[in-house]
């Protein structure tokens, strides 16, 4: 009996480990690992995301997000990233196969994140917008692969 809840159904094909090259908004290149796992029998999905230097292994970005479903069936993410602090993101409208979220960061900035599965790759884009005053930071794009099961085999 596999654990199925409305939340887990949204993340079923993402659960597990993903890795791939990533360029942060600072321009720094690294390797990004994302690990999706569930808790409380599928009522909570946690995402641990780390970007590290490909040569030294030093981590230069580490964060954890907790996903749950709201009353209206939309996703909400409680996020902590060491570099930015805490942020609550809410699901926004996008194409059917894209999971898009938007949230406010301290200092009037906003963070947008989108996840899309393309064949066996997970495409992550995220951007920090400076809000009213200041400059938007460059968008970061990462294309990740999973290695825990042969390509094409579903969850």
């Amino acid at each position: 009996m596999a654990m199925t809840t409305p939340l887990v159904s949204r993340f079923q094909s993402m659960l597990g480990y993903w890795r791939g090259p990533n360029q942060l908004e600072t321009g720094r290149h690294g390797l990004l690992e994302m690990h999706f796992h569930s808790h409380f029998e599928g009522e909570l999905v946690q995402l641990d995301a780390y970007t590290w230097d490909t040569v030294t292994g030093e981590t230069f970005s580490a964060g954890t997000g907790l996903f749950a479903l709201k009353h209206d069936g939309r996703l909400i993410e409680n996020l902590y990233v060491g570099r930015f602090g805490f942020c609550m993101l809410h699901e926004t409208d996008d194409e059917p196969d894209v999971l898009a979220l938007l949230g406010d960061l301290p200092g009037g900035r906003t963070m947008s994140v989108s996840l899309r599965l393309e064949d066996d790759e997970l495409l992550l884009t995220s951007q920090l917008k400076a809000g009213v005053v200041g400059k938007d930071l460059p968008r970061t794009v990462a294309r990740l692969k999973r290695y825990d099961r042969p390509p094409g085999e579903g969850a």
Binding site: I76, N78, G82, F84, G85, M88
Partner: protein, 155 residues
């Protein structure tokens, strides 16, 4: 600047014990405190069990420093939804957190270290729109001991 989490690092490990909810129902507590977000945060994973090991409530919290060094806490409760809690200033060996939950309640949660291997856990929830003087009904209270596995005699 010393790590603001250091004063709670001694709590890393497994804790368990008994408690009760407001209506007198006895509950069993289990709590795992672990390093998280590559050492930048502490994760508190708490489970309250009743009867024949039915999970009454699950709470998963991430306590971490904001970029300005102040501690903040985000998490998920299986009863109250997403929570964002702020530590209220207190003694060195007390973690007192309070804040709103997306389910509409105002949550307060505290851990008080009574001795090296004993923590007192208290949790309270009241409607966010409750008028002043509203006596918060409900609440959970319990004693947690650091787990010391049974050892066969002579081992």
């Amino acid at each position: 600047m010393s790590n603001p989490l250091s004063r709670f690092a001694g709590w890393i490990g497994d804790w368990a014990g008994q408690g009760e909810v407001a209506d007198g129902t006895e509950i069993l507590f289990r709590m795992q405190v672990s390093s998280s977000v590559e050492g930048n945060a502490l994760c508190f994973h708490m489970e309250s069990w009743v009867g024949q090991m039915q999970l009454l409530h699950g709470l998963r919290l991430i306590l971490a420093p904001c970029p300005d060094g102040t501690l903040q806490c985000m998490g998920f409760s299986t009863r109250f939804g997403m929570v964002n809690l702020t530590p209220t200033p207190d003694d060195e060996d007390v973690l007192a957190l309070a804040g709103p939950a997306t389910g509409g309640m105002q949550i307060s949660f505290s851990l008080i270290q009574q001795e090296e291997n004993t923590l007192i856990a208290t949790g309270m929830a009241r409607p966010q729109d409750a008028p002043p003087g509203f006596a918060a009904s409900g609440g959970t209270h319990g004693i947690l001991r650091r787990v010391a596995p049974w050892r066969p005699p002579g081992s």
